[in-house]
Amino acid sequence: MFRIDRRLLANMDWLLAGVVILISAAGISTIFSATRPLFGGTQPDYYIKQIYWLIMGLGALTVVVSIDYKWFHRAANALYGGGLLLLVVVLVAGRVGMGAQRWLSIGPFNIQPSEFFKLVYLMALARFLSMDSESLDWRSLGKGFGALVLPPLLLVLVQPDLGTSIVLLLLFVGLALAKGIKKRVALLLAAILIVSVPFLGTLAWDNLKGYQKDRITAFINPEADSGGMGYHVRQSKVAVGSGGLFGKGYLKGTQGPFRFLPEKHTDFVFAVFAEERGFFGSMVLLFLYMTLLLRGLGAARLAKDDFARYLCLGIVYLFAIQLFVNMGMTMGLAPIVGLPLPFMSYGGSAMLTNCMAVGLLMGVRARRFELFF
């Protein structure tokens, strides 16, 4: 299954790799700034750990690129089963942190299986959707949802991890739309959705945890709750806004180190970046992300088969959802849902997962001229 030849190297998407390294470098430098101590004290080693994670991520990327995606196609169901098993294990033996059971300790590492699960989930979805070229009808839609979406959705909700469950659901919806849904089915589904929103909304609201409710209320009306979650939204907007056109300059931001921002090196890393680099810096970053996403879509377009196409599309969705939700949250456009910013936020599991995802994109692109054997 490993095969790297000259042609593969020649068709490698070095641009995509370059963009990933650039964004990660911006992330690492921002993590350094966000966690720097004020007036003496030692620099926490978050940024060093993130460098290690990036190196490991690039290693993982190389491994994934060297594997022919057809192997993933064949192994998709087995991998999916393994991923689901890990999600069960995390519920039974996982480590509780910040009110949720998300982490699994393996030696010195704490990994977050739900991050890696997203990839095998996308593989299983891509395999399922590429089985035929018909638009989805009731049967196939129900089968896909019941067999592939519902089990992990429930397992993740129990942790509880609202962010990941939303991502899983959106990935399925986005890919199903890409494949096409029969008109009748689509219309009926839309109607059912509209009618049931109030009921589902109430049901969901009643089952949310207190802090989750706070986040949503704070998003809808941040001024009403200036002390709690609304405070975070406001401080995040202050951080972004105070960057101005050119930014306060690297290591000159105050909102992060002065602890006005929560999760300054993880979920709110972009606020720290925007404060120090300003509008121009942020636009450069947005441009890098755009390159990443469009290159990913390019891989989808060039893909030789439907499995690869759906896989690439799903990966682009995955990046895009996290990007928009995270940036939207830092700028007060979306509720505070704990989704990291790909390649920027501190976090090993996410970095490894995202690198592997890019590896998949690059692998598909590199193998676009291969013939089927």
């Binding site: 960057g243 509008f279 996403l293």
Partner: protein, 589 residues
């Protein structure tokens, strides 16, 4: 996938659109509103701390402090940590009700400064809380200053008290520099001279993190100590006089005749100003407001009462100045004057016999003044009274004063829509009927009679150099000499009504007054104890000493106290003797 090109292009378009939306939001936040957020991010981490300015000390005329500053500890909640604080544990730790803590937090949800939970902590309580700051990071100890009045209610009506800056005061220009939570003078001298006493609070600006930990001092304005104040009050005199009241209600005002300084100002019952220093609680407040004796009323300035026979000074001066009588004019007083169907009696039913002006004052003969009043007429008496500033405020500005009432025929016509009757002149001539005065007005009259008719502005502040009188009262010195000699007789003569004021250490001159609250029926004769309290006579005594170059002039008022000679004169004697003694010891020192 069918039409992958189209579908992927659609997705590309959607992604580019959403990126543009993010870019537009960045433009809005960073460029359009950038300046506003930059300012916020700066202010965000500045913490301004007010350093209270020590308030000026108020001393009496001899340098005894009437008030001291004392530290006031309170425990407060850091607003940034409020959302996460475990209120239940905090309430439990501080021994407060959860509902109370919750209420305070609810009211100050948007606070920037620490929110006070409980004030007036003892030192051991402070130590106890500080020892556990790691368990309760949201709690901070606040140190402020408060006032302690060591003499309690003795000088309360003069010194006054502090209170919270009121909502309508916050808007006023005078209080622009005063931090919101401050206590400022709200009564008495503390209020009148607040801007002199209060000083200027300092300000420390810190750079602080979101939890409120101070990281670096950026700038500091030192607090400016308030100015001290020396009152004209003589604490020893004030205390001795309060003692002499022995729990009775009333007032005493003592003036220094050659300066207009107020040496003592007493109103009984009084209150403890320490209750107010940090905000009075509802229970204590209701107790004061509903007290039968109205302790918050300053009787020296806020009591309108008939002056009784002390007012005979005014009638006598009028008669002499109008030349309807001479000091030697005698009358036969047989205890009653009849006018038509009415009988106007003397307090001494048997009468005083042959009476001249001196004897009329010494023995306080009513009939003599009925006749004197009839000769001068009410309007001449009223004119003289106004010369001595009856019927107007004292100018002390300590509280909202009562003005008293000096009636004349024009007043009667205007207010009562009736002509003036002779019987009313009789009553007014002996300080009864419509005539009303305040204790401070009588003290002024006494002072100005004693010093030969020089009116000085009244002041509560110690005079550092002798002031100029602002007015010479239009009464001849000869008249005043006659009055003063008669006042000497009131105390010194065997038959004088004020013999209880006779002193071995100084020659006191005075005049008694016993003001009827209700007129007894002719045949009625009840002993003092039988009369209900609020129908008993008011006791008055006005006095000055020594006779030549007087050092002190005063008026004593004992509310429903009975006879002026019996009740008020002894208080005057105690006060004057105390003052003469402290004068002497002060000169020796």
């Amino acid at each position: 996938m069918r039409n992958p090109e189209t579908r992927i292009r659609l997705v590309s378009a959607a992604i580019v659109l959403m990126l543009m939306a993010l870019g537009a939001r960045l433009w809005e936040l960073q460029v359009v509103r950038g300046e506003q957020f930059t300012k916020q991010s700066f202010v965000n981490r500045l913490r301004i701390e007010h350093v209270p300015a020590p308030r000026g000390i108020i001393y009496d005329r001899r340098g005894n402090p009437l008030v001291k500053n004392a530290p006031f500890y309170s425990v407060a909640l850091a607003p940034q940590l409020m959302p996460e604080a475990d209120l239940e544990a905090i309430a439990d730790f501080l021994g407060m009700e959860l509902a109370e803590v919750g209420g305070i937090v609810q009211r100050h949800r948007n606070a920037i400064e620490p929110v006070r939970l409980r004030g007036g902590l003892r030192f051991d309580e402070v130590a106890f809380i500080e020892a556990r700051t790691s368990d309760f990071p949201a709690l901070v100890i606040d140190v402020d200053e408060t006032r302690h009045y060591p003499y309690g209610d003795t000088v309360a009506h003069v010194v006054g008290y502090l209170g919270k800056l009121g909502p309508e005061q916050i808007r006023k220009k005078d209080f622009r520099d005063v931090p919101r939570q401050s206590f400022i003078g709200q009564w008495g001298v503390e209020k009148m001279y607040d801007s002199h006493l209060r000083g200027k609070p300092g300000r420390r600006v810190f750079e602080a993190d979101a939890v409120g930990r101070k990281l670096r001092l950026i700038s500091e304005d030192l607090a400016q100590h308030g100015n001290d104040l020396y009152l004209s009050i003589d604490l020893d005199l004030q205390r001795a006089a309060v003692e002499a009241f022995r729990g009775r209600a009333g007032a005493l005002v003592a003036l220094k005749p050659d300066t207009g300084e107020v040496l003592a100002l007493i109103s009984r019952p009084s209150f403890d100003p320490n209750l107010f220093s940090r905000g009075i609680d509802t229970g204590n407040w209701l107790r004061l407001v509903n007290h039968q004796g109205y302790p918050l009323l300053n009787r020296a300035l806020q009591t309108n009462a008939p002056p009784g026979s002390t007012f005979k000074l005014i009638t006598a001066i009028t008669a002499l100045e109008e030349k309807v009588l001479t000091p030697n004019t005698t009358m036969i007083a047989n205890g009653v004057v009849a006018k038509g169907p009415w009988r106007y009696r003397c307090w001494k039913r048997s009468g005083h016999g042959k009476v001249d002006l001196r004897k009329s004052l010494v023995e306080s003969c009513d009939v003599y003044y009925y006749k004197a009043g009839e000769l001068t007429g009410i309007n001449a008496i009223a004119r003289t009274a106004r010369k001595f500033h009856f019927g107007r405020e004292s100018g002390l500005n300590l509280v909202k004063e009562k003005k008293g009432l000096i009636p004349d025929s024009e007043w009667k016509k205007r207010v009562k829509k009736e002509p003036w009757y002779l019987g009313e002149t009789y009553n007014a001539s002996i300080g009864q009927g419509f005539v009303l005065t305040t204790p401070i007005q009588l003290a002024k009259m006494t002072s100005w009679v004693s010093n030969g008719g020089y009116a000085y502005d009244l002041t509560l502040i110690r005079a550092e150099e002798p002031p100029e009188p602002f007015e010479k009262i239009d009464v001849s010195p000869e008249t005043l000499d006659v009055i003063k000699e008669a006042m000497r007789g009131v105390v010194a003569d065997e038959k004088g009504t004020g013999r209880n004021a006779m002193s071995k250490i100084v020659e006191i001159a005075g005049k008694t007054g016993t003001a009827q609250v209700v007129r007894l029926r002719e045949d009625e004769s009840r002993s003092f104890d039988e009369i209900p309290y609020n129908l008993r006579d008011h006791a008055w005594f006005i006095a000055f000493a020594p006779l030549e170059e007087p050092e002190i002039a005063l008026a004593v008022y004992v509310e429903h106290g009975g006879g002026g000679g019996a009740v008020a004169a002894p208080i005057a004697k105690v006060a004057i003797e105390q003052y003469m003694r402290s004068l002497e010891s002060h000169v020796q020192n």
